[in-house]
């Protein structure tokens, strides 16, 4: 019983079925059904975790769907340390978010639909991380994408929600296209899609092919995890209900790309060029999104860009070969980012669905629990000692530093660009400053100062317990998870635990790093940003004005999101037009051609449907004779 992984996905699947079939008639219970199932999943995961302690990994074949010749399609579970960490994060956060949503969605008329898709998403996400092969992962990769699409467009009567859902769908198609080609190439190269067998076949694989596969899989990861240039969908995805943003678009689904790269790490280790690509895309995305977050006025959009930026840091860690650290940051980020989203949801809920920070302010006394937990989440995001984000982000930067230091030449050398890791390290520090700045800009604007909209402020109220309890639990996680998992640095619980997945996880030795100095440097960076934000928005110091004077074009650039959405939209429009033209051409040329051709043929054959006896049967017979002559003649002539 303890070691029964199948129960983990089964419970949410059952909740999906129950809510899908009976939810309409009993809308009140749907939220509790979903929550109970996901809590059960979490409990089963904990049980599995305890039961599997000490074991390296366990593979169990659930169902062999197709077995023909050498080709098999399995539904199978691989439970190693990496899977279990991911499962704990996924089911844990899902349980809290589902509980929170019971309160948040209370007044929504369509909540049975909401609580049908949420457990389906949890099920799909569990199946994604528990898979032992790329095909199963891909199927559920698409499933979580489908759930994401359905939930972004949950309020389907809003045009913006439909547009955002469509955008997410289309952008992810680009990523998934690359991913699918990568999977096909992997099958062609290794003859299997099981991770273990792929890794076993790496030794004899063609190096160029391995690099190509690694890059293509990363394209899929870029789409799902919103990395430049495929990041454009995630901020728009905030059109979905806030619990969805917290669960799918911050804590779990968007981290699937990071998981993919870490899961496939032996492949990436064999493909240094691909790793460099991962690191470069991650670093650039991190700084890009952080700068855009500086100027957002919608509280959820700040958090969305922050998520993109933090995902970039995770890829940067993975690209530096620090796979464990990437997962560590993924785990702590799940806590504090889910907390911040749910906190922002609490604010939005209190303010009658107002999301614009320009109409907030002074909420700290009205929403004491939300405020206190939000502060903790913000400090964790800003990576202030000793909160969760500090430990994981510090390790990300430390590993980038180590990677850079490992190359004395300091140039783009044979070690595949270790030199550029100095640049990445500098980027990471900049992101630290920016992160702390936009986080506290958001906190000050939301909770401090005078209320900017008296009417909204008047009606603001603290959320019910179903919403505040998850906040408090997540706040505890945001405060403590880093220290619990990550002390001492490089040798914490999570490092030791993930080492169990030996052969799956490749650990980069920390060496005798000047860990303390690096920690101090990144703390200084975080505090700099924090103090600047407090000065600018709390004290009214003219810091933003000075910055504007210093770099006049920058604000516009950030506000326009580096013009990438325009580019993206332009591209999309062009693509749509091309597709329309193509299908029109197909319609006019091929379909109409067929229609007309068939029409002409039947006229040639001498009759329409109504005048069949006039000879169409003879023509059919004639056709048969022609076929007979061709078949027999062909057989005899080309024997």
């Amino acid at each position: 019983m303890l070691n029964a992984p199948w129960i983990i996905p089964l419970l949410p699947l059952a909740a999906f079925a129950v809510n899908g079939l009976f939810g309409r008639r009993n809308p009140r219970w749907t939220g509790w059904v979903s929550t109970a199932a996901v809590v059960g999943s979490f409990a089963a995961t904990v049980a599995l975790w305890i039961a599997s302690a000490g074991a390296d990994q366990d593979e169990s074949l659930l169902y062999r769907w197709v077995a023909s010749g050498g080709f098999t399609i399995d539904i199978a579970f691989l439970t190693d340390a990496l899977t279990i960490v991911m499962l704990l994060v996924v089911t844990g956060v899902s349980a809290l978010v589902s509980l929170y949503a019971v309160g948040y969605m209370d007044h929504d008329a369509n909540k049975p639909r909401f609580f049908t898709w949420i457990p389906l998403f949890v099920f799909s996400m569990i199946m994604l991380v528990i898979s032992d092969n790329l095909l199963q992962l891909f199927v559920f990769w698409e499933m979580v994408g489908l759930c994401s699409y359905l939930l972004i467009g949950y309020w389907y009567d809003r045009d913006s929600a439909n547009a955002a859902a469509t955008k997410a769908f289309l952008v992810n198609r680009i990523g998934d296209f690359g991913f699918a080609i990568g999977i096909i190439l992997a099958f062609l190269e290794f003859g299997t899609l099981r991770y273990r067998e792929i890794f076993a076949g790496l030794g004899s694989a063609d190096a160029g092919m391995v690099t190509a596969i690694a890059c293509l899989l990363f394209v899929g990861a870029m789409g799902k995890s919103a990395q430049f240039p495929l990041h454009v969908w995630l901020p728009d995805a905030m059109e979905g209900p806030t619990p969805v943003s917290a669960l799918i678009h911050a804590a779990t689904m968007v981290t699937a790309g990071v998981y993919l790269v870490v899961r496939m790490n032996p492949l990436y280790t064999q493909a240094p060029e691909a790793l460099l690509l991962v690191a470069a895309v991650g670093a650039f995305t991190a700084v890009l999104a952080a700068t855009i977050a500086l100027v957002q006025t919608d509280i959820k959009r700040v958090l969305a860009y922050s998520t993109v930026s933090q995902l970039g840091l995770m890829f940067l860690a993975a690209g530096a070969g620090a796979y464990t650290v990437a997962i560590f940051h993924l785990a702590t980020h799940a806590f504090f980012k889910a907390l911040l989203f749910l906190g922002s949801g609490s604010v939005i809920h209190a303010l009658n669905d107002e999301q614009d920070m320009r109409r907030m302010g002074g909420l700290r006394r009205k929403l004491p629990v939300t405020y206190a937990t939000f502060i903790l989440g913000g400090l964790a995001l800003a990576a202030v000692f000793p909160l969760a984000g500090f430990w994981s982000k510090d390790e990300v930067l430390a590993h980038v530093f180590l990677k850079a230091a490992a190359d004395p030449g300091g140039a783009l050398t044979a070690d595949h660009g270790a030199g550029v890791f100095w640049l990445f390290y500098a980027t990471g520090l900049t992101v630290s400053v920016l992160t702390a700045f936009y986080t506290f800009r958001m906190i000050v604007k939301t909770f401090h100062g005078a209320p900017r909209d008296a009417a909204l402020h008047e009606h603001a109220h603290e959320s019910p317990w179903v919403m505040t309890v998850p906040l408090i639990v997540l706040a505890a996680g945001a405060a403590l998870s880093g220290a619990v998992l990550g002390i001492p640095p490089e040798h914490g619980v999570i490092h030791g635990y993930l080492e169990h997945a030996a052969g799956v996880l490749h650990l980069e030795g920390a060496g005798a790093a000047p860990t303390l100095i690096l920690a101090v440097v990144s703390t200084v960076a975080a505090l700099t940003g924090l103090l600047l934000a407090l000065g600018a928005y709390g004290r009214g110091l003219p810091i933003p004005q000075r910055a504007r004077a210093l770099a006049p074009g920058a604000e516009t650039l950030f506000r326009q999101k580096w013009y990438l959405d325009h580019l993206g939209d332009g591209f999309m429009v062009a693509l749509t037009k091309a597709a329309a033209m193509l299908s029109w051409g197909f319609d006019a040329g091929v379909v109409d051609g067929i229609v007309n051709g068939v029409g002409k043929l039947s006229r040639f054959a001498g009759g329409q449907a109504g005048r069949i006896q006039t000879g169409q049967a003879q023509n059919y017979a004639l056709l048969m004779v022609v076929g007979l002559v061709l078949t027999v003649g062909g057989l005899v002539l080309f024997r």
Partner: protein, 497 residues
């Protein structure tokens, strides 16, 4: 030569024959509403025939030759006979929805005669049996197509089908005569020896070509397919449902036996010929289906396309060692089974719409999900499965066929299959879109409301059961297709091929 014990193996066929005769007799001596009795007789007969089929299986699982080598009882024939008994039973329940009392009893009797022919055909081990069985199967089917004799379209379709079928039979007999002349035998197994001793000389290929053409007509392969859409459109819908699956799969079974047994020495030539025909069939069937606006015509072209897919499997069969391993024949068996169920189900839903709107036009499917959710959901399953969407049985079927094609070195044919399948999504998914995403036309809705109570409750329930069984099987064989495949593999392993 004829052992009395042989009769024990053909008890299922005898029961089917007895059922058919009983139905005729029943029609002559009774009056009034005999619908329940017709259905009961036929179902009881088919049920006990199926029971006997499994009780009288050869003990060691080997092939048993009966009646001096005229007929063979092996796993292969048992597999198909089970399918045919199931299809005929479904068709009779379907027919009870469509026909009033008197035509139904004719329908049931004709169905049983045709079933008898099909059951003998898949066990034929001699050209004489094969030919008689084909005609026993085909002649009742011509009548079934023209059963609604007051409908002009139905009669036209029957006459055309009959005339062309007679032509094809003539070609078949001519081919058999050549084969006999060349080898001095009508036994399929001995034919192979005779052909092998002559090599690929032109006259052997001539005989082979004639036989391929005749069977190509029966399975509706391009360019011998032209009767199909007309016959399906003109036939009463239950008859069309049966014709589109039963005789086609039976003829496919004979074709596979012929190419792996009688003409096995010419396997390389057969592969090329069948591959070309299969490619033409897939391409033309799928392209023509796009242009159809009548659902039965569309399903007609769709069934042509699926003939092409099965022919890919047969072409691959003749390239490899028959029965040696998975590839080849079992994939054809698997595909025949799941194809029959999903296509039959699609016709059954087409009839639901026909009963509601008195129309077979695709536009009548508009908004079906709003007025009748279950048939719409079942139709979606059939359409997606016919397209080959996982995890439905049509997907698995295509996957197995593809693998046998690739293993046989027919990569180009596999690519053709995939590309034409993508094309087929165009017309299959259009039905899904019509049913789920568009609102119905106002007049259709009104007439649907007016006509809905036309069918009596119990019969309508029985028809729903037909839809449910076929849809359930289409889903189930997709998810647990391994069992069906294992059966097909075992059937082929213990057969005369």
């Amino acid at each position: 030569m004829i052992e009395p014990g042989d009769l024990g193996y053909v008890v299922p066929e005898l029961i089917v024959l007895g059922t058919a005769l009983t139905l005729l007799l029943w029609a002559a001596i009774t009056r009034g509403d005999r619908r329940w009795m017709s259905v009961s007789i036929a179902l009881a007969g088919n049920g006990s025939a199926a029971l006997m089929l499994f009780m009288r299986t050869p003990a060691d699982g080997a092939a048993v030759e009966l009646f001096a080598g005229q007929l063979v009882v092996d796993g292969y024939s048992t597999f198909f006979r089970t399918l045919f008994l199931l299809l005929a039973s479904l068709a009779i329940v379907f027919g009870a929805q469509r026909f009033p009392s008197a035509p139904l009893i004719d329908f049931a009797a004709l169905l049983q005669f045709s079933l008898l022919g099909m059951m003998l055909l898949v066990g034929a081990a001699d050209w004489a049996t094969a030919f008689i069985a084909i005609e026993t199967m085909a002649i009742p089917v011509y009548v079934l197509v023209g059963l609604t004799r007051f409908r002009r379209a139905s009669l036209e379709a029957a006459m055309k089908y009959f005339a062309l079928g007679a032509f094809a039979s003539a070609v078949l007999v001519y081919g058999i005569a050549w084969s006999y002349g060349l080898t001095g035998t009508t036994s399929l197994a001995e034919t192979a020896d005779g052909i092998a001793s002559r090599g690929d000389e032109p006259w052997s290929l001539f005989a082979l070509g004639l036989i391929l053409v005749a069977l190509g007509f029966k399975v509706a392969a391009v360019p011998f397919h032209a009767w199909t859409p007309d016959a399906y459109q003109g036939a009463p819908t239950p008859a069309a449902a049966f014709v589109s699956v039963g005789p086609k799969v039976a003829a496919m079974a004979l074709l596979a036996r012929v190419v792996t047994l009688a003409f096995e020495p010419l396997a390389a030539n057969i592969t090329v010929a069948l591959a070309v025909i299969a490619a033409a069939t897939m391409i033309l069937g799928n392209l023509a289906a796009i242009a159809q606006s009548d659902v039965k015509r569309m399903l007609g072209y769709s069934s042509i396309a699926h003939t092409g897919y099965m022919l890919v499997g047969v072409a691959a069969v003749s390239q490899t060692d028959a029965g040696a391993d998975f590839v080849g024949v079992p994939s054809v068996l698997f595909y025949g089974f799941v194809y029959a169920l999903m296509t039959f189900g699609a016709f059954a839903v087409a009839y639901v719409v026909e009963a509601q709107t008195d129309s077979n036009d695709l536009s009548a499917f508009r908004g079906l999900a709003r007025r009748s959710m279950l048939p719409a959901a079942a139709m979606a399953v059939f359409m997606l499965s016919l397209t080959g969407v996982p995890p439905l049985s049509g997907f698995l079927g295509k996957l197995y066929i593809l693998q046998s094609a690739v293993d046989a070195g027919l990569g180009w044919l596999a690519v053709t299959l995939v590309v034409t399948s993508v094309v087929s999504a165009f017309y299959y998914l259009r039905v899904v879109v019509l049913m789920f995403m568009e609102d119905e036309d106002a007049p259709a809705a009104a007439s649907a409301a007016a006509d809905a109570p036309a069918a009596s409750g119990a019969v309508a329930d029985a028809h729903s059961a037909v839809v449910a069984v076929t849809a359930g099987a289409t889903v189930a064989f997709g998810i647990v297709g391994g069992g069906l495949l294992a059966w097909a593999q075992a059937a082929v392993a213990s057969s005369l091929l």
